[in-house]
């Protein structure tokens, strides 16, 4: 099949307003801190983007103390209608600086500009806009007549949706009257630091939001800090368990949004063209760096060949390359370490006997890249059917009956999301009822909205983000 050639349509790198170095944000000020500065690179070409201050133990301590002061003296006692207006301001400032944030996100993370532009940044603004409106309506949220904030929230976020995850964490916490210390991921700290600047531009009182960049140690220090009342973490199940152990025996409240191995289930009566699009957005959106990715395709045996042919044809049209090119569908893998993990699990997939197919797309010479890949002949025992790969790798299993599909879908310690493709309404509802997952997408996949609660069952974590439900994690009741 011939494919239209596109001429390059790169977004201007200048709009990111990259600076050679970024400081941490504590008590309303950008400061150097006392850790050892680290470099953040562009995963698409491995060039250094900037040097970033690292928060060590004393910086984290300063941040928590600043947050405590701000909670006790300003934010915790401020009328909800005033907090609300600050959050609306932040939402507007994100919208105003959307292009800058989108380009910066794509540079730092490697995701295609069309995704950062159309998904990450608009949703981040929408989250602030949504929770802004809750700040003065908390008594109507269903968590008692006198809902109160918890205090200081320590929030640790991942690298896959850097600004969006910051918004998911900060917006409900601030609306509920808490103050925050946010630890962005080591490989993607930049947009969170621009968000800190946005907090300044919004005249947010000092200490209400603090941003402490760093790696795992910084996060562990924050989580363990005695001055933190609430811990919220998004990331791997392994680290989530460690955090749950760390806070054992304390009074800290905890919410965890962890890994997944979602089943995307296609029945023989599904509109196959739409299902193919859903499978593609399910696992190849954001290079598969999505905890709720539809990484296990369960397809009914009678349509498996037809569907896979069509899927492979579609994958052949995906454009992999420069994240800043507006035509790019698949960007760079976020880091060398992540690329290594994807490669290693893919090799295990082959050695365990599954059949590997990768789209024939040329990979750039520099940077971290992995082609869209499909494994067929996968059994439930294979590691690529059980473990989260967190990359553009789809494992295909087949089934004959709805019961079998359900049993295979639920055969996982995770439980974050699932997908169902069928034209039969009663079957959708039957499946949706029985799938042990926090989000079920029927005839769609990977949709997100600030009003829609998101979070997992079982080892995918607990607590919900988004919607009225998302307030519960930040309220004493």
């Amino acid at each position: 099949m011939s494919i239209w050639e596109y001429t390059p349509a790169p977004e201007s790198r200048e709009s990111a307003r990259l600076r050679p170095s970024y400081q941490m944000f504590i008590d309303g000020e950008f400061v150097d801190g006392s850790g050892t500065a680290f470099k953040t690179i562009n995963p698409a070409d491995e060039e250094v983007l900037a040097e970033v201050a690292e928060a060590n133990e004393s910086d984290v301590d300063n941040a928590v103390r600043a947050a405590r002061r701000a909670f006790e003296q300003v934010w915790g006692r401020m009328p909800g209608r005033e907090r609300s207006k600050y959050l609306f301001r932040i939402a507007r400032l994100i919208q105003e600086r959307a292009r800058e944030l989108a380009v910066l996100e794509s540079l730092d993370n490697g995701k295609p500009i069309k995704e950062s532009r159309d998904v990450d940044i608009p949703l981040a603004a929408a989250h602030f806009f949504y929770y802004a409106g809750w700040a003065d309506k908390l008594e109507y949220a269903g968590f008692g007549a006198n809902p109160r904030p918890l205090g200081v929230a320590g929030q640790v976020i991942p690298w896959n949706f850097p600004l969006l995850m910051a918004a998911w964490k900060l917006a409900p916490a601030l609306a509920a009257g808490n103050t925050c210390v946010l630890k962005p991921a080591e490989t993607t700290p930049l947009t969170a630091l621009v968000l800190a600047e946005i907090c300044q531009q919004a005249d947010l009182p000092p200490g209400v939001v603090n941003v402490v960049p760093g790696a795992g140690n910084t996060g562990a220090t924050l989580v363990a800090h005695k001055g933190v009342d609430k811990v919220a973490f998004t990331g791997s199940t392994e680290v989530g368990k460690e955090i749950q152990r760390t806070i054992a025996g304390t009074k800290k409240r905890l919410t965890l949004e962890l890994g997944g191995k979602a089943a995307n289930i296609v029945f023989d009566d599904a509109p196959l063209d739409q299902a193919v699009e859903g499978i593609v957005s399910g696992i190849f959106f954001n290079q598969g760096h999505v905890c709720c990715a539809g990484s296990r395709l369960l397809v009914q045996e009678s349509v498996a060949d037809e569907l896979l042919d069509s899927l492979k044809r579609r994958l052949g049209t995906l454009r992999l390359g420069d994240p800043l090119d507006k035509n790019t569908d698949i960007g760079a893998i976020n880091s060398a370490a992540q690329l290594e993990k994807i490669r290693s699990l893919s090799q295990i997939g082959e050695s365990e006997g599954a059949t590997r197919w990768s789209a024939a797309c040329p990979l750039p010479e520099r940077g971290f890249w992995f082609p869209p890949t499909v494994f067929t002949g996968v059994s439930q025992a294979h590691r690529i059917a059980r473990e989260e790969i967190f990359g553009p790798v789809l494992s295909v299993l087949t089934f004959r009956t709805p019961d079998e599909a359900l049993a295979k879908a639920n055969n996982t310690p995770y439980g974050l999301s699932a997908g169902i493709w069928t034209e039969k309404g009663s079957r959708i509802l039957w499946m949706a009822n029985r799938l042990r997952a926090g989000v079920v997408w029927a005839n769609t996949f990977n949709r997100f909205d600030p009003t829609s609660p998101f979070g997992g069952y079982q080892e995918s974590g607990f607590g919900r983000e988004g919607g009225r439900h998302g307030l519960e994690a930040y309220l004493a009741h």
Partner: protein
């Protein structure tokens, strides 16, 4: 010694309640139970690790049926439990008085029965109170509803042998969970009698499994069990909770830490916190179009 005019009473053997049956502990162990002032009451079964595991298997087996039952059906069964309790009211008043050293256990037993009735009414309302339709920015129908977490391990309160126990059991099963509970260690007999009520109330076997024995011995097996989804630490002393919480992290269990300090006043309005503690929120999306 019986005289001609009095008859020797037939005593009951107090056993475990697992999967709808009444086994002794597989370990063969028992322990003496007395009133607070030291009068011997009975030998209770002293459950073992194996009993814990059997109980978890039974609870897991019962989960799909119980969670899949209609809320109306669950409500009727919970109400039936209250009916059966009412029928044994006098027996419970005597047993709770013995267990807790009360002169008059009437009000606490009445409160316990009324609590079942209260939770019976919640089964088909909690989804309306905690669920929602979510106005997403796009052409999708999107709704959220509560679903049971799964198998819940409950370390029952140590003092309130019936009202406290019921106050922790009823909300967990009202939401559709199945339960493995360890009764108050030194006051286990009302729990054993409650098991007889459960067995005659149309509650499917395995929905509630009741163990008696040493809380400190059994709790770690429950906290670390990979097929238990949540744990309620109410009956565990505050300083013993840390290790259990650590074990619970092995499979990311939901932990209900229980009250700080003393046991709460179980007669107070319980709120819905114990219902929602063992409920997950599921959100479903579907496109809207012609």
């Amino acid at each position: 010694m019986p005289t001609e005019s009095s008859r020797l009473s037939v005593r009951k053997t107090y056993k475990l309640y697992i999967g709808g049956a009444f086994p002794r502990s597989e370990s063969g162990r028992s322990y003496p139970v007395s009133t607070p002032d030291g009068r011997f009451l009975a030998n209770a079964s002293q459950a073992s690790r194996k009993d814990v595991r059997d109980a978890v298997v039974a609870a897991r087996k019962a989960f799909s049926g119980w969670s899949g039952a209609t809320a109306y059906n669950r409500g009727q069964i919970l109400y039936r439990i209250a009916e059966m309790l009412e029928g044994r009211r006098a027996q419970f008043i005597a047993e709770v008085a013995d267990a807790e050293g009360l002169n008059d256990a009437e009000s606490t037993v009445d409160a316990a029965i009324d609590r079942w009735v209260w939770y019976a009414g919640w089964t088909d309302k909690i989804a309306q109170v905690t669920g929602s339709s979510n106005p997403v920015a796009g052409r999708y129908f999107n709704f959220s509803l509560p679903e049971p977490t799964g198998v819940v391990a409950i370390l029952a309160p140590q003092r309130s042998s019936l009202l406290g126990l019921i106050s922790v059991l009823a909300p967990a099963i009202a939401g559709g969970n199945t339960v493995v509970a360890v009764a108050a260690q030194d006051r286990p007999l009302p729990a054993s009698t409650l098991a007889e009520v459960l067995a005659t109330s149309d509650l499917p076997g395995g929905v509630i499994n009741l163990l008696t024995g040493r809380t400190a011995e059994l709790a770690p097996w429950l906290a670390g069990h990979m097929d238990v989804n949540a744990i309620d630490l109410t009956g565990v002393a505050a300083d013993e909770r840390t290790e259990l919480e650590r074990l619970a992290a092995d499979n990311v269990k939901r932990v209900f830490r229980g009250p700080e300090g003393d046991e709460p006043d179980w007669t107070a309005d319980p709120g819905i916190g114990r219902l929602t503690a063992f409920l997950e929120t599921k959100t479903v999306w579907h496109p809207v179009g012609t």
